[in-house]
Symmetry: C2
Subunit: 308 residues, 2 copies
Amino acid sequence: MTFSLKDRLDASAAATEARLALALADAALPGERLRPERLMAAMRHGALGGGKRLRPFLVIESAALFGIPADQAVTAATAIECIHCYSLVHDDLPAMDDDDLRRGRPTVHRAFDEATAILAGDGLLTLAFDLLAGEDAHPDPAVRIALVRALARASGIGGMVGGQMLDLAAEGRFSGGTPLALAEDAIRDLQAMKTGALLAVSVEAGALLGGATADERAALLAYGRALGAAFQIADDILDVEGTAEEVGKKVGKDAAAGKATLVSRLGLPAARTLLDRLVADASAALAPFGARGAVLAEAALFVANRRN
Amino acid sequence: MTFSLKDRLDASAAATEARLALALADAALPGERLRPERLMAAMRHGALGGGKRLRPFLVIESAALFGIPADQAVTAATAIECIHCYSLVHDDLPAMDDDDLRRGRPTVHRAFDEATAILAGDGLLTLAFDLLAGEDAHPDPAVRIALVRALARASGIGGMVGGQMLDLAAEGRFSGGTPLALAEDAIRDLQAMKTGALLAVSVEAGALLGGATADERAALLAYGRALGAAFQIADDILDVEGTAEEVGKKVGKDAAAGKATLVSRLGLPAARTLLDRLVADASAALAPFGARGAVLAEAALFVANRRN
């Protein structure tokens, strides 16, 4: 290997952090009247200074397969990170998962208050589409609007938002409190929507930015879906094996809630086997890109073996 | 007058209702995995079967100034209505305005639960941008992406979301509970953001759909801003003078909360005078459109005199 994955992760994280900070500056943009100070502080708390920035990395590295420089992919990457961050802010709310800690810091509603956290999430979600609409996302309006469509589908009703709905239902929230005994397929649907869709659309965005052929786009989507599934299984394994200190949030939550995951359904050894197979599938999907696919293949391994 | 405003309001409301129902159908679209039943039911509860559909009317009638038929403007109109409906669902939440009643029916978190209401709002917000991304919104991607940009700016940090933040702050929510004694300018900022921005972007959307010149777009924006300000003053007057039965939601809330409005700041007679002036300003802004501007001019009168 002639590259360091850590260096590349760090580089895309730094570029994303800078673009996010610019997007969350205090000065109002054309079409805005003013930016309320408390709202901006809450949005910055929820979006800046933390996170692996895995989704931006996937956008930037997928675009790089087509020769697109990082500075031309970072705006779309930042838009997707805004969606990820808003989902964390809303999922952490007392009415949802009721978490006090995120990335080792107080969640937005703990650092501010519930109303502010709801609005900060709404603001980040809206900002994502604002970012995609600007010329710095891509010079061609047709590419920008394709990004809007792909991101809306991945993060809305039939994607991330729907996945969180299924997750709350799985906990038994709407059926008397007893967790649902979901079949393996239903767990896969839930996870593909809740976390997989946004990871998959990240590589799809890279394909759109790079003007990929239909075959290349399909290959990247297959990679993204395998990576997304691997990510969630790794997360479920960490919830069983990790410590709060490592992970930066509460662990053991799934078991405590009696929640159906692929780990609880298949058992730890079978879940590990499945995880290995998904990593292999992800790498295999990258075959059309030859040696250029090495960074994304290494990223799949990283996602499967991460400790936080 | 050779038209009936009521008939035109009814026609755009019916077209919007039909487009919304289609967008909120149970079947998953390409790029979606499945649409969870409870989420769809909550989104339909929050979006269908109620409301004046004033914003869609403004989109459709503004586009009509440029000869655009209603069926070519209804998708963008529906996108803006999705934003309006999501804002109501989130604003009604216990952590925000804590309302039990909306349009004479239980609010979404009362009919379902808080978590579902948060997700239904997130879903509607995301759906708005999905709708704008489709070819039925407009055949030209450049127009569609301009709509995305305008709507994101009007509804985000420096628009509607920011306005709700300022509104909560004005109630004294973050300063010990005593309502802030806002100056007239600060009240105008708050109202222009909280309700004015989305009304103004509705007519701006019509201008974008119609390929308006810069002058025509500026004229429509001036109309939209005057209309938005008039709408909010009429709302504040209704909160003082209306009954819950007429209005379909609690009244007397502003006075009970000691909230600064232009009515409380200026007194009822001066607020009425200002309202009349805004209606005149709105009509005057339509001068470039000659007789074709009559429907929108009549709409400004309607907004000022409405009882619900």
